[in-house]
């Protein structure tokens, strides 16, 4: 593979890190983000800003988890407010949609489909509805036994039977660090990660066990022995990624007491009605949470989530891949990542604020380059992103509905209820779709499903009055019909070539007009323009 690199990027990557000051409002933060991005990206490389239709589609997908409705599109276009983009973003981050979308994103990040767990999802939804802060979620999820509510235990419960999964998945999800390689040997490529780090992190989970009641507990002792590549035997220490070690205080328990504790733990493992197991004085996972939150130097916890939010909005992390935070893989924009991480800390880990600010930047509002884009890591133009399973499934439901019955945020009162129903309705299709990762490619399984499964015909192309196809039947003018179809599905006006082709299509099939309209809608929904956020 030949790697091309960009001279501008290369000099800037190693140039002095500009300092950045934190900002008070999301808008100020947005300006600061633009300044830091523009520092590394010459004006002639930057793509122009998108028009309003593309902007509302992009922002609604990113903040509400779905495409905009026709009513929302029209309201936005008709608005004469000088701050209409800011108004839109404010409306979106305050919407019921935002909490659903944020829930789905966090579920994917944390549970990765290890299971579909309605209780856990309900817990996350409550949290995102009240915009619970990220450090609070971290505490609740990593030390679930401190709450009576066991729902947050799903993250650990799904992994604790396998110490390697608990260790590595936790490091990846919360700290952006994949130390899997360092289990059997010091990391071959990355000096940062040694076996001591791997077992250091693993030791925080070693004593965790699952209770029958659905939570977790910790034993009073337990450590890990391992063998180095030189053949030396070692005992693990409690050590965080930064090298911070924790010394366990000596505590000798009397034999009788030890026996009593062991029996209580055993009972809690086998009996759902048993009282919660006794808690040791020294609690490794609580300490992990404490040490991770106190790490303001390397700031793994804050930088990881800042990087993940950035990647969600731009299709690429400032550190990329997202689980490779280490000295050999520096961020493309060190000062920017520092700024975002610091801002999160200063604002109590308010994820909504970060997303709000990012959505207000010019960097976020740039078009994709038509041809020969500069390297992605300059963020000079938009990088297309496949819709997530939920975004895709919800957007299909919105697009296929009769637009007059799908007002979205244009009718605030009814919408919350309707959105909740859509969320439930979108589940079954969302669960069948692949979660896009780096290098994602749409599979033939999807294209065959979309081409030939009865559900597509019966659900999305149905011609009843409450559906898009049914509503289009009422148009007398073919041009108006096509305009409405393209607005409903692709959230924009038709291009002249499309108009010509679709007029022709309808004309060729006048005797099967309902079918022809359904086929036009199908062609729009199966286009890459619909399948991606761009």
């Amino acid at each position: 593979m030949r790697t091309r690199f960009h001279p501008v990027l290369l000099c800037l990557l190693f140039s002095a890190v500009a300092t950045a000051s934190t900002a008070s409002s999301p808008m100020q933060l947005a300006r600061e983000i633009d300044r830091l991005i523009n520092q590394q990206c010459a004006p002639e490389l930057r793509a122009e800003l998108v028009g309003e239709s593309q902007y509302i589609r992009r922002a609604t997908l990113d903040l509400a988890g779905r495409i905009p409705t026709v009513a929302e599109l029209q309201d936005f276009r008709n608005s004469e407010s000088l701050t209409k983009r800011q108004d839109l973003i404010q409306q979106l981050v305050s919407s019921a949609d935002f909490a659903f979308h944020q829930r789905n994103e966090l579920d994917t990040l944390l549970l990765r489909r290890l299971e579909h767990n309605d209780n856990w999802r309900a817990y996350l939804l409550e949290a995102t509805r009240e915009n619970r802060k990220w450090d609070e979620l971290f505490r609740q999820i990593m030390v679930p036994e401190d709450d009576e509510d066991h729902r947050s235990a799903a993250f650990l419960r799904k992994r604790i039977s396998d110490l390697d999964s608990a260790t590595n998945d936790s490091s990846i999800a919360w700290f952006g660090v994949n130390i899997g390689c360092a289990k059997c040997h010091d990391h071959p490529l990355v000096m940062d990660w040694t076996q001591a780090h791997y077992y250091g992190m693993a030791s925080f989970f070693k004593r965790t066990f699952q209770t029958r009641a659905g939570s977790v507990g910790e034993r009073f002792d337990g450590s890990i022995g391992y063998t180095t590549t030189d053949g030396d035997s070692r005992k693990s220490e409690f050590m965080f990624l930064t090298g911070t070690k924790l010394v366990e205080p000596d505590s000798e328990l009397e034999e009788a007491k030890q026996k009593e504790i062991n029996e209580a733990i055993k009972k809690s493992e086998s009996d759902a009605k048993a009282p919660p197991p006794p808690q040791p004085q020294f609690r490794p996972r609580s300490n992990l949470v404490r040490i991770a939150l106190a790490d303001t130097e390397q700031n793994f916890f804050a930088r990881n989530i800042a990087n993940r939010l950035w990647a969600r909005m731009f299709g690429r992390g400032l550190i990329h891949p997202l689980d490779q935070a280490h000295s050999e893989n520096p961020p493309s924009h060190p000062a920017l990542l520092d700024l975002l991480a610091r801002d999160l800390r200063e604002h109590e880990f308010d994820l909504r604020r970060t997303l709000h600010a990012i959505a207000l930047t010019d960097t976020y509002a740039r078009k994709a380059h038509a041809k020969d884009p500069p390297p992605d890591e300059l963020f000079a133009g938009a990088i297309p992103r496949p819709l997530t399973p939920h975004q895709f499934s919800l957007s299909l439901l919105i697009a296929s509905a009769n637009p007059t019955e799908m007002q979205g945020l244009s009718s605030k009162q009814e919408w919350n209820q309707q959105r909740e129903e859509l969320e439930q309705k979108s589940e079954s299709v969302a669960r069948q779709l692949e979660i896009p990762d780096d290098g994602f490619q749409v599979s033939v399984t999807e294209s065959l499903w979309f081409s030939n499964h009865p559900q597509i015909q019966n659900e999305y192309l149905q011609s009843g009055g409450n559906r898009l196809v049914g509503s289009l039947l009422r148009f007398e003018s073919d041009e108006e019909l096509i305009r409405e179809a393209i607005q409903a599905v692709l959230c924009r006006d038709p291009d002249p070539d499309e108009m010509t082709a679709m007029l022709q299509y309808l004309q060729n099939k006048t005797e099967r007009r309902t079918d022809a309209i359904g086929q036009i809608v199908w062609a729009l929904m199966s286009s890459p323009e619909f399948r991606f956020n761009h």
């Binding site: 593979m1 590595n168 890591e377 490619q441 749409v442 399984t445 081409s451 015909q457 199966s526 286009s527």
Partner: protein
Amino acid sequence: MNLNAQPSLNRRSSLNRRSLLRLAGAASTATLAADMSSIEALASPALTESLKQSGKRVILLWLAGGASQLETWDPKPGRLTGGPFSKIQTCVPGIEISELLPKMSSRLKETAIIRSLNTKIADHGNAYQLMDTGRTPEPSLKFPHLGATIAHELGQRDSQVPDYVTMYTSTEGRRQGTAGFLGGRYNPMFLTDQMMPANIKRLDSITEIDHRDRADLRDLMANIFDRKQSHPMYDAHNSAYDRVRGLMASDHLFDIEREPQSVRNHYGPTQFGQQCLIARRLAEAGVPFIKVARAWWDSHGQNFETHQELCADLDHCMSALLDDLKARGMLDSTLVITLGEFGRTPDINGSLGRDHFASAWSCTLSGCGIRGGSVFGKSDEDGKTVIEGEMNAGDLFATIFAALGIDHHKEFMVGSRPIPIADFDSEPCFDILA
């Protein structure tokens, strides 16, 4: 074949440590890693041609649940562990197999037997993972299954036929297979409750002409969009839709009614036989990887009755398949693998069963790239340990790749981590390669 010598289609090259090393000439010249973007690079015609191991195919006969090596390829009659069946001389002097495989005994000239697998893992779930990916699982890394790797190496990007088909109609132990980090493009087409893949047939509610016309209209929309912006992900999306019509047209490949009665008789009436025949039809049409699973060999009780029944099916169907491939001149380019997740214990339990056993068991490779009529490795006289030529899952996979002419040292980049196509430190077994 050095992937790195080829230009990548991915214009968005990333600047990481490895690429800097490469640019600085500091990387070893022996093995430079293929970036994940090289998957996209399959679109490059020059690369496509040079990469493809012309016309090679794999048919995997998967013995789900774990067949007994003692009742198949490594019999031990007369020993306490041997069970009631005897061994028979094969057409290759010096090689004897269980009497339960009489048909195969006369067809061993195309087949190599490996009698020295020691894969250590003996529970179904993990052993299946191991034998389908060739390595032990790692947290946070989704390894591709053999079929996906072969589809990636041997498949044509815009192929009009599927490139990874897996058939498993049994309700027990159904396993679908995944492309892992290679991406959804290489996921299997999975036949579940019928002999036809899902969604391959046009619905009655749309006419043939309308189905085609709307696909053309979709293409036109995609082309207009491409004028505004292009990206390899859009190309992959379009390619998935471009392949729909071809895949639908390949439905006849799954229809064995189209075979002459004599051929169908040759494969026999069992489901396994019919699926082997479909596998041959698919291989002939250019499908690079087909897995046919036969269940359920997990004979914790009544091992001998179970094997009497299942071995008869295996013996008949495997022989029919090899005969048919040979008669069509396809055996030189088709590798037939007979494998399960593990073998069975030499010790016979109280229910006259054999339990899970992964310390000394057998599999076979036939056809493409294989030195037929050979045996590799040896278990002790009771079949309890490997005493010669111990082989693990990685070595078996390296051997499979080598037989197909795929460089087993080749690497994929997953994030910034190089992952060799066959597990670290694995080596092909050259003794059984042609």
